[in-house]
Amino acid sequence: MAASSKQTDPNKPAFSKRRALFLGKDSDSIIKTFFGSNAMVAIVILALITIFLFKEGAGFMGLYHKSLEEYRLSGLEYVDILKEKREDYTELTRYLNDVKSDWINELKASGSSQAEISKAIFNPEAKALFLGYMRAGSDLKKFVKTKMDVAIEIRDQHTTNENLRETVENYTQRIAEIQSTSYTFSKEDRAKYTLLLRDHSRDNSLPSEEAQRFLKEADSITPEKALDQADRETFAMLLGLEAEKIEATIKPVDFNTTIKGVIDEQARYAEILDALEVSLTEVVATADAVQFNSPAIEERIATFKELNQKFFSNIDAHKAKLANWDQSAPVSIFQAASAFLTGKDWVTASDQQDWYGLMPLLSGSLLISAIALVFAIPFGVGAAIYVNQIAGPAERNFIKPYVEFISAIPSVVIGFFGVVVFGEFIRWFSQLDGFQWVPFFPIQERLNAFTAGCLLALMAIPTIFTLAEDAINNIPRHFKEASLAMGATPLQTTMRVIVPTALSGIISAIMLGFGRVIGETMVVLLCAGNRIKIPDFTEGPGVFFEPVHTMTGIIAQEMGEVVQGSLHYRALFMVGIVLFFISLIINYTAQWVVKRFSKLGD
């Protein structure tokens, strides 16, 4: 800068200090470059994070695509369609059992003794209904089970083959390595060679003198003995033999023929379904004969009948779906991508098919964030307004550092508090007699979305408070003074002048609070209940008290246990990528909101 322009100046002052030049630069500009390159550190790190997340996550789509292809080729997909009907039936059975337990509870409540209850439950009509319904589906269950076993066996055989092929591949590489002239025997190789020689000499198909020769060769190998070209070739030959043996164990799977074992017997399946329909209709009809003596239970039985009708009417569509299933339909890479982004299951290490769907985790994260923000926004923004506009200086000097101090509480400590105190408190509260009118009380799990959400709110409040307070503080005094001079009360000034002017800053504060909440790990890992399932939104507000799992939680929980480079490992990195981009988008939007909607001039 100043220094370098001096040097090009022809009228150089006589007292200018001569500067040492290095690569055409003087020391000051070198120092500047040094600092400048250091300033790039933030950019470099951001780039590195992107690179490494993608490096580890990159293989996911390919592997998942392959896995989905195998899922279709092996017929597991077909079996999953078969299972749909079985699941429906199981669901209905569960519903009926539920009705039964309701009935028992009602009998208990009406003061019947144990003997009376069992008499009512086990009279022939009731027995015909409850037991009959359960027994009617045994054929269906058996059929689906056999088909599933067949499909799983095909898939497993295929996986084994893949692994074996990889081993053979490794052998081929090894042999090529050994045959190259630059190869020298390592210690392990000597041991392996000796072992192979001995093994080979025991081979019965070998002429005895040949076997003797191998044995002698094996005995002669010592760590010092130099091994020559012949040895290398023998070693390669022996390895080749071993590879051949392994290759021989590969039982190739021809999906076109194996699939027949899965999709045959469609006619029999249709028969089973028809028989099921007939027998279920019969069983359900017996319900009329049972004396429930309770309008509520009878109403539920009526619903049950309707559900059964629905079950029957779906059978044709189900059959059509089975008939339309096509093993040879190709799986596109987009299907793999959408199976990840919109998939509803996250199932790992299962004996059937592993699913890596983002939805249960994303919905859990969003649910918890929503709960947290519902609490954090009024408290955070309210406190910011209070501290900046209403509170006196003494109060302000206490509250501001205090809130800053809250932001330093480690998240794991808050999570721990949630596990030992807050979760228990919520369960205790939901079991109080005075609150039983709340429809979803008492709650079952002490660790649920609500527990985590409340604690996360406490973590988001300092962020929202500090930034919102800053935004309010930045409004020039004359806004307030003008409003007051017009005769507005302080609260009118605050609500109609100050807050609207600071709104862009407040919104950006809320967004950054959201970013903090969705990226928080330890609290959700400890307090959210960790059940991988999309929350059941049909339950109304009860959904807030369901245990959920989150994107951050799943990474923290499963990362330590996965095999490096496996599909599961890469799936976790994919979740990390999604999380990373969500946080970037939130950050960017927060800045954009401030810039775009700021009502203050520059």
């Binding site: 100043a2 220094a3 000051d28 120092i31 500047k32 600092f35 250091n38 300033a39 550190v41 933030a42 950019i43 790190i45 994070i49 490494f52 997340l53 580890e56 208990k108 409540a109 408290f379 955070g380 309210g382 406190a383 307004i385 209070y386 501290v387 209403i390 509170a391 509250i399 550092p401 101090f405 330093a408 480690p410 998240s411 794991v412 400590v413 808050i414 999570g415 721990f416 508090f417 596990v419 030992v420 406490l458 409040i461 009360t489 609260l491 969705i518 990226g519 330890m522 400890l526 951050t552 923290a556 990362m559 330590g560 490096q564 976790l572 990390g576 999380l579 946080s583 970037l584 950050n587």
Partner: protein, 401 residues
């Protein structure tokens, strides 16, 4: 409003507006104090329960063993007679309760009889429980192994609880090492970056990009830093789960806070300081070295302490980069060469708290360890945060340009 008996013309009049105002003000005040009370309760709860583990009623008043020993399995021997009787009483209470519940609404006298029975049983249970507490023997693993022979199985009922005995010494040491190393790295990088931003940079594309990156970096979730550290330091550089991998991961996390804070305190120094130096013929670098950095240093350090508190409090980034759930050796034990020191995993308090609150059951024996660790950790982090806040207030008073 209807005029009553001629009020003072400037007195506050009751109106719907005024009522609304005071109500809204009250709402804001309540919101603020609700937050303060909620956080205060967490501090109180952890400090109260944790102090039971950390402090003692006898001299030296601080439970040195808890702060220095390694986490161990706790072996508990409870007097068998009392133990069995307690179990039978508990079963009796449960069955009485079930019978009472099964009675139905009609039999009031019977229900009352059951209630009184349950009450006496519960009293008995409590007295026995006290006896059990007095009669039980507890050994941490090292003590247990030193016993000539374990207490007889006939007299005592035996249980053991992982992680519940011993102390948290290695975890405290590990946390201190992790924090010290990561802050050293973050301060070096951060201050250098801040010098450029405040002294050399000129508005333009590059500066915008740098600022945008810093802002975005501060919003990246901590678990993503953990994944990144795992991918880059642990796997790609092949450092394994090690202290040095944790240092760099944590340093990168703390960087945005430190850069922003350092830049702010450098910019707060009046222009006159620099101009005076430059006018005397000093070079830019000399000016920075003698007239900017010394005055900015207190500010940089205090704000960095806040960074320290944040870094010390994070668990997610060290979960797969640096932390071990349990390690028998202290960091300076069993090293074959000096560099091994950097390439070993350590125990860390936050991860230890996660392990003891998620992986072991909640009961009277595990509670001590759980609360004790949380309290010590909160104390350490709180100490840093508080001193940062107090120092900053003092510095603001001292330096007023």
């Amino acid at each position: 409003m209807s005029a009553q008996k001629a009020p003072h013309p400037f007195s506050k009049r009751k109106s719907r507006q005024a009522a609304f105002e005071s109500f809204t003000t009250l709402f804001f005040r309540l919101a603020t104090y609700a937050v303060i009370i909620a956080a205060g309760y967490i501090f109180f709860n952890i400090a109260y329960n944790g102090s039971k583990a950390v402090f003692m009623t006898k001299a030296p008043f601080i439970n040195i063993a808890f702060l220095t020993q390694k986490p161990q399995t706790l072996h508990v021997y409870e007097p068998k007679e009392i133990y069995d009787e307690l179990a039978s009483i508990k079963a009796e209470i449960l069955s009485s309760k079930a019978k009472k519940a099964a009675l139905g609404s009609g039999a009031k006298t019977e229900a009352a009889a059951y209630s009184s029975q349950i009450e006496t049983l519960e009293e008995r249970y409590e007295t026995l429980d006290e006896e059990r507490k007095e009669g039980r023997l507890m050994y941490s693993d090292s003590e247990y192994r030193a016993l000539p022979e374990p207490p007889s199985e006939e007299l005592y009922a035996y249980n053991n609880y992982a992680y519940s005995g011993g102390g948290i010494g290695p975890a405290i040491i590990g946390t201190c090492l992790l924090v010290a190393g990561s802050i050293a790295i973050a301060l070096t990088l951060g201050v250098l970056c801040a010098v450029y931003l405040s002294e050399y940079s000129r508005p333009g594309r590059v500066l915008q990009l740098i600022r945008l990156s810093i802002l975005n970096l501060s919003g990246v979730p901590s678990i993503v830093f953990g994944l990144f550290g795992f991918g880059m330091f642990v796997l790609f550089f092949g450092w394994g789960v090690s202290m040095i991998a944790g240092w760099f991961t944590l340093a990168i996390m703390a960087l945005p806070v430190i850069i922003t804070a350092s830049e702010e305190s450098m910019r707060a120094i009046p222009k006159g300081f620099r101009e005076g130096s430059l006018a005397l013929g000093a070079s830019k670098w000399t000016t920075i070295r003698t007239n900017v950095l010394p005055y900015a240093l207190p500010g940089i350090l205090t704000s960095s302490i806040m960074g320290i508190a944040r870094v010390a409090g994070e668990t997610a980034p060290i979960m797969f980069t640096a932390a071990f759930a349990l390690r028998d050796q202290l960091p300076w034990e069993g090293l074959t060469k000096p560099t091994d020191f950097f390439f070993q995993g350590v125990m860390a308090l936050p991860y230890h708290i996660y392990v003891v609150s998620a992986k072991i059951p909640q009961n009277e024996y595990t509670r001590n360890m759980q609360y004790g660790a949380a309290f010590v950790f909160l104390f350490i982090v709180g100490f840093f945060a508080l001193s940062s806040i107090i120092l900053r207030v003092k510095i603001r008073k001292k330096y007023k340009w």
